[in-house]
């Protein structure tokens, strides 16, 4: 270290440019890796999506947008899009509500805050490879004699009105699949909000109280507007998770068209049916949807920063 310092002192005149060059050099491996592993592979996927590849071996015969056109009129893909929209709304909404709610509760200066925080956060540590089957049991839709899972629990506790058909509900089953996803990610959302809440200076709250605001008004008028950026970043993180949801649904419900989403269709059509062209087209559609979600956000935050 001392050597480095001495050296840089000696070459003070050139230091500036040279250091910038070192900076660039340090980032270059990452840039190259991402260029190959992200953009290179996306380019490959794009090429396959424009090809007739069906079967085990590559066939790059160019067919233009045929695969995309077929998706547009594919009833299964229509179900996928509908399911993704429903899932995203319920999952993101649920995480934000539960996350903000718990964060506000925990922000009341309660005892054992650390305990509750860790408890709410822990589902994030476990993959659905591990808990998928448990959720499948919990959300067993059977009623009457064969009642089981949460339905049985509700029934025993006299909460009959909560008994329902869960993810076997025709048309809306996917909304219930969002529950385990909320279980997993709401703790993370809580942590985001809690971090945001702790970032609000106490002085601002005090000032509002001095002005005669009630505790509720303090939150509505002062605190919540200040943590709006947290909501935005949570939206982006949760939104892209929901577009890519895969493990959870496979583990919980197997592969069934009623609960199908694009990522599952992509996987099964590629590796069960060997429709590589169609699978790649679904991948591209997913990527474009993510880009539509993320790119404006990135542009916005970067502009905010440079404006500061």
């Amino acid at each position: 270290m001392t050597v480095a310092v001495k050296e840089s002192r000696r070459r003070k005149r050139f230091r500036f440019d040279k250091d910038k060059a070192i900076g660039l050099a340090l980032v270059t491996p990452s840039i190259l890796a991402v260029m190959v592993f992200v953009y290179g592979f996306i380019a490959w996927t794009l090429r396959v999506s424009l090809s007739a590849w069906k079967g085990l071996l590559p066939d790059y015969t160019f067919v233009g947008l045929d695969n995309f056109r077929q998706l547009a009129s594919d009833p299964r893909f229509h179900i996928d899009v509908r399911n993704t929209v429903i899932f995203t709304v319920v999952f993101v909404g649920g995480c934000l509500i539960v996350g903000l709610g718990t964060a506000l509760l925990l922000d009341q200066g309660i005892r054992a805050e650390g305990f509750f925080r860790s408890l709410y956060l822990f589902p994030m540590a476990i993959s659905f490879i591990v808990t998928g089957v448990v959720w499948r049991w919990l959300m067993n839709p059977a009623q009457g004699d064969r009642i089981s899972g949460l339905n049985l629990l509700f029934d025993k506790l006299g909460l009959d009105f909560l008994v329902n058909t869960w993810h076997a509900t025709p048309g809306w089953g996917i909304a219930f699949v969002a529950i385990p996803a909320i279980w997993q990610m709401s703790g993370y959302t809580m942590a985001l909000y809690l971090a945001g809440l702790r970032g609000v200076p106490e002085a601002l709250r005090e000032a509002a109280r001095v002005d005669g605001a009630t505790e509720l008004q303090v939150y509505r008028k002062v605190v919540l507007p200040l943590i709006r950026p947290v909501t935005l970043s949570a939206l982006i993180i949760l939104g892209h998770i929901s577009l890519k949801v895969f493990d959870l649904i496979v583990a919980m419900a197997g592969k069934q068209v009623q609960l199908d989403v694009p990522a599952i269709y992509m996987w099964t059509t590629t590796f069960d049916g060997f429709f590589f062209g169609r699978g790649a087209a679904i991948g591209i559609v997913l990527l474009v949807s993510v880009a539509v979600l993320v790119v404006p956000y990135l542009a916005y935050t970067l502009r905010q920063e440079s404006g500061q």
């Binding site: 270290m1 480095a4 310092v5 840089s8 250091d19 910038k20 060059a21 070192i22 900076g23 660039l24 340090l26 980032v27 990452s30 840039i31 592993f37 992200v38 490959w44 996927t45 539960v98 709610g101 718990t102 509760l105 009341q108 200066g109 309660i110 509750f116 925080r117 860790s118 408890l119 709410y120 956060l121 822990f122 540590a125 476990i126 993959s127 490879i129 591990v130 808990t131 089957v133 448990v134 049991w137 919990l138 064969r146 089981s148 049985l152 629990l153 279980w183 985001l192 945001g196 970043s233 577009l243 890519k244 992509m266 996987w267 590629t270 991948g283 993510v290 880009a291 990135l298 920063e305």
Partner: protein, 272 residues
Amino acid sequence: MTQTRARAWIYIPLMFLALFYLVPMFVMLDTGFKSFDEVSLRTMWDLPKSLAFDNFVAAWEALSPNVMNSFKIVVPAAILSASLGSINGFVLAKWKFKGANVVFPLLLFGMFIPYQSILIPLVEFMQSVGLSGSIPGLILTHIIYGIPITTLIFRNYFATVPEDLIEAAKIDGAGIWSTYLRVLLPLSIPAFVVVLIWQFTAAWNDFLFAVVLTDNTNWPVTVALNNMAGSQIIAWNVQMAGSFLAALPTLLVYIFLGRYFIRGMMSGALKE
């Protein structure tokens, strides 16, 4: 007086939420202690007749070599990707070169690709560099696909470090390395904790990359756990015991380090 009563009331929803978060773990452990013929959907809430650890022993025997593999994969992957992310984040936040503001979003976008769609070129790449089937190949994959998130966390964290500190170091004559090592690295311990936990969990729980990139001697625990099930008769009791064992390391990380994770987030990492 009203204050304390309000406080006491708050614990009710908190406890209910705690139950919501714990129920799946209860079912997993409860089933893990049962014998094969005790396991059925109708009796899932019943407690096991006896507290036998047979299932856990059986599951451990099946999984233990793979648990070692998981550590061999996850520890280097988490440490190396945190180090890489730290350097990237530092350069992109505090040592900007021309075009740094273009590079950052380009790196970040990699976070969003659906991994299922790039398996074929990934395997072909690993095959062509001779890393297919091996642990280093999988580590490399985790590091590369970890670049976006680790860079993001460190960059946002470093962005909160006052410019004055950097300037002061420069005036002292510090170059890029000494500025990083002397000023930013010591400040970034909370971000390191967040990134290490994040990457540890992500790599530990990964199934997709592991199943296509490693061969049977190098499988991590997720693949082995999935293999325990087979395609026909599934011994759910042993499966649940195995699930619990497979989740244990990440659970412990969250239980013991969870508060540092949240503290790290609060101190600026992962805010945006």
